[in-house]
């Protein structure tokens, strides 16, 4: 899992059937001090996150399992939670 900030929304009309109705968001990965850490990526949203939200996301085959429709989906990044706060830094 990584921390990230939702920086945009990606709209796709032509897509896999299992992706219908699921928001695609543009996420900028961040470190614990909220500095940018790597390139932005596109992730599915499972928690109704919005632009500007601090979130955490999962990558790899586990992300595919986070999408509620079907048993497997061709996705490799999914937003798993909205972060209320990061303490200890």
């Amino acid at each position: 899992m990584r921390l990230g900030r939702v920086i945009g929304r990606v709209v796709c009309t032509q897509k896999m059937e299992s992706f219908e109705g699921l928001p695609l968001l543009l996420v900028q990965p961040l470190d614990e001090n909220r500095r940018e850490a790597g390139s932005a990526l596109v992730a599915f949203d499972t928690v109704r996150a919005g632009e500007g939200d601090l979130v955490f996301f999962e990558m790899g085959k586990e992300a595919a399992q986070a999408i509620p429709k079907g048993w497997f989906n061709p996705a490799d990044a999914a937003i798993i939670g909205i972060v209320d706060g990061v303490s200890g830094t």
Partner: protein, 103 residues
């Protein structure tokens, strides 16, 4: 597995149901000498770790689910599976050309 230092605690109310009830910690990977190396990651805590602890992190779904004891949490991938007490490391002694044990 990766060795790392717990540097922060993440609080999240709105999250995927598979993640409910677990502590989410930020782990900064370290090299064998304890120096930070690479990007920090988030891991679910399976061993009651806390900020400042040196820990072992498993970044593989099947193993992470075993650590947490929940085989049905299919989206879980990263978990803290141990707290490191000590690292014994063999270092090159350039003066003697041999290898010595260091604490």
């Amino acid at each position: 597995m990766t060795m790392g230092r717990v540097v922060a605690n993440v609080v999240s109310t709105e999250k995927h149901p598979h993640y409910r009830g677990y502590k989410i910690l930020v782990v900064q990977p370290v090299d064998p000498e304890g120096k930070p190396k690479g990007r920090s990651m988030l891991a679910l805590d399976g061993v009651q770790a806390g900020i400042g602890d040196l820990v072992l992190v498993v970044d593989e779904g099947g193993s992470a689910r075993v650590v947490l004891g929940d085989e049905s949490a299919m989206t879980v991938r990263t978990a803290i599976c141990g707290i490191v007490d000590r690292v014994d490391i063999e270092i090159e002694d350039s003066a003697s050309g041999g290898r010595d044990r260091a604490p």
